[in-house]
Symmetry: C2
Subunit: 410 residues, 2 copies
């Protein structure tokens, strides 16, 4: 039976047919010239998108593996680290530290709120002297709550402290502003199945020269995630172990599509679709979980109507309308619905989501006038489009090479 | 330009079109019911093929990641381990121990030779008392030299010692006899891109009850590779981090194809094609590197003709005939050619390889009569087929379910 899904979870995100087709090409030798060309091109394209001239290393693992690499390659057992957390992924970053014997002090902000630069400044003021934290760890886009931390301003504060700066941008990179070199991020992690619109299986990790200096002193055990072996192999255009070749090929194709759109247009699209999603939800009186000022461009978390279990709403969306959204994680289970607008997503996908949501709300006996949410989303999007200057909007549909696309942004 | 490759490297192996097509299906929610069904079915099929009733855990990583999981989940810093090595992958297993502070005593046999049960017995005799090795680590099929260690007999010796038994069967499982439970293997590792004929990106790790007991005492840091989190997630038919979904789907399809053939027929095919390959090589006076008694069913390593650099031969095969073979690894670089007959490989693939090899040898001014190697390979294969009883040979082409295929073998 033909039942196409509207995959609206924050990763794996929707993968375009062209990218899926690329991933289904016959396998190649991962030690031969074709893979060498692929890896070199991928690395360059990622450097462009991640705004870094430093190393970008491709690990065959999911984003969590990349976060572990960030910790294991730069810290030592007993080192202190300051972890700012506003949700499940901040907690995971701290848990990885703990697993490795790194003494992580976790500073939590309530779920739905962002880590503000002033908090970072205050907490860093406590980290002076011999016993001070060596590194600051933070999540850029907190997928579990739909919060985007104001990384540019946080980075400025961390930079002043001189501490090592490790950023989980697994679901942030490629959909929102991120200037790895300019902001002084030492290690940044992202993953193929998020904004990049490729299948899961590849984590990308950037390493600054300062991070490599920290590597020299790090005594944590590492083998598969030993980034020095990735760097050494990269010089021969290889990877230390057999790479997830089909995901690498898919990623090259999705980066090609992204370069055609251009990073600026991609960021704008995410911002506008996220805003349209919030307006649509609000039009049917659903409460957005995140602080509006720090609402994520990747995913919107909202509370179900009163006396409705989020799990029930999610199941109806799936079973009756093939619309796949996520629920709350950890202590938020049953209390949140999370709808993603991450990666290769269009206004049509969001409108389709609202059509399913409206019907589901009616089935749950909620007083919803048909079309209200869809219309509010469309209207919000149209407003955003009007505010965007016409020539810039048009250039986004013109095919350009990855280098051109990024060059216009520099 | 249409230039199909004859991919004759020992992984990534050739992936059938049906498997590639499966891997290109639209992405699904890795927390939803479709993935749950997929993971449950995959786990059951792998238990059948790996001949174990214990846990089979699926990691989104390559085989080396699985080897690291084997070490990090069962040993502690300062533990002693006895590592038998006959090539590059034995050395890698020892290197992983070293990275984790496990005191690995490596017993090397010369490249091209197998680890014999008597050697294992002699070395284990030295491991008595308080300072004795806690675990024995060994490679089943040594891809770098084309040697298959006689694991059944080795296992009997290790079992008598009572030590923990960790086996790298990354390139052995699924193409040769392997009885994980019957032989008493505590942790066994394999990977999707080897005999399983799926794209790279997934490692499979089995854990016996004894291995789980060792886990309780293990103090090595682990997060992404913490197998207890995989076991806990598996009970909810999930994985702890985002899995390489497209590779999981591909693996399900390749296991379906393998179940149709049946494990016994697959093992016979590998044995017969390996023998045909050796006979073809010998017919043109090329020297097989491995001891014939322990020749690998997965890959055959051979020396190039005198005064020919293996790298040159490999390049000509690739550039002139789109035939992709591997070279020597580590200290054998330039001295070996490795041709694989692993996974979804047929006699036609081997004959095609020999047609390319014969032409290349002529271009290198070697005295080769056209057809000699091809004919010798075909003849050897035909002999093997005659020795196999007709009904058994025919049943291999009959479609059967995974359970049926394994049931006939039990």
């Amino acid at each position: 039976m033909y039942r196409p899904q509207n995959l609206r979870i924050p990763g794996p995100t929707f993968v375009p047919q062209a990218v899926l087709a690329a991933s289904a090409r016959p396998l190649i030798n991962h030690r031969g010239p074709e893979f060498a060309a692929l890896l070199a091109a991928l690395t360059r394209a990622l450097q462009d998108f991640l705004r870094t001239e430093h190393d970008v290393l491709l690990l065959s693992a999911s984003g969590s593996g990349g976060l572990e690499a960030a910790v294991a390659n730069t810290l030592s057992s007993g080192d202190k680290a300051l972890v700012f957390s506003c949700g499940a992924f901040g907690e995971r970053f701290a848990a990885i530290c703990k697993a490795y014997g790194v003494d992580a002090r976790r500073v939590d902000v309530p779920y739905g709120r962002a880590v503000e630069p002033d908090l970072v400044r205050d907490e860093l003021a406590k980290e002076k002297g011999k016993d001070a934290a060596k590194a600051v760890l933070i999540t850029h886009n907190e997928t579990s709550t739909g919060v985007l931390n104001p990384m540019k301003d946080i980075a400025a504060v961390v930079r002043d402290s001189g501490k090592l700066f490790l950023v989980d941008s697994v679901s942030g990179a490629g959909c929102t502003e991120l200037e790895i070199d300019e902001w002084g991020i030492d290690v940044c992690v992202t993953a193929s199945q998020k904004a990049w619109g490729a299948p899961p299986g590849v984590a990308m990790v950037t390493m600054s020269p300062r991070a490599w200096k920290a590597y020299e002193k790090s005594n944590l055990p590492k083998a598969y995630f030993d980034l020095a072996t990735y760097k050494a192999s990269l010089e021969k255009a290889q990877t230390p172990a057999t790479p997830a070749v089909t995901v690498f090929i898919a990623l090259q194709e999705s980066l090609r599509l992204m370069a055609e759109e251009g990073l600026e247009a991609i960021i704008r699209r995410h911002r506008d679709l996220a805003r349209a999603t919030r307006r649509g939800l609000q039009a049917v009186s659903l409460q957005i979980f995140a602080d509006e000022r720090y609402a994520s461009p990747a995913v919107t978390a909202f509370r179900p109507p009163a006396r409705v279990d989020a799990r029930n709403l999610i199941r109806l969306l799936r079973d009756d309308h093939d619309t796949i959204v996520a629920g709350g994680q950890g202590k938020m289970e049953g209390q949140l619905v999370r709808v993603a607008h991450l990666g290769f997503v269009t206004l049509q996908d969001i409108v389709a989501f609202f059509s399913a949501l409206e019907l589901t709300l009616r089935d749950l006996n909620q007083p919803v006038e048909p079309g209200v949410a869809m219309t509010a989303a469309l209207r919000a999007y149209a407003e955003s489009q009007q505010q965007t200057s016409r020539p810039a909007a048009r250039s986004s549909s013109t095919a350009r090479s990855a280098n051109d696309a990024v060059a216009t942004r520099r």
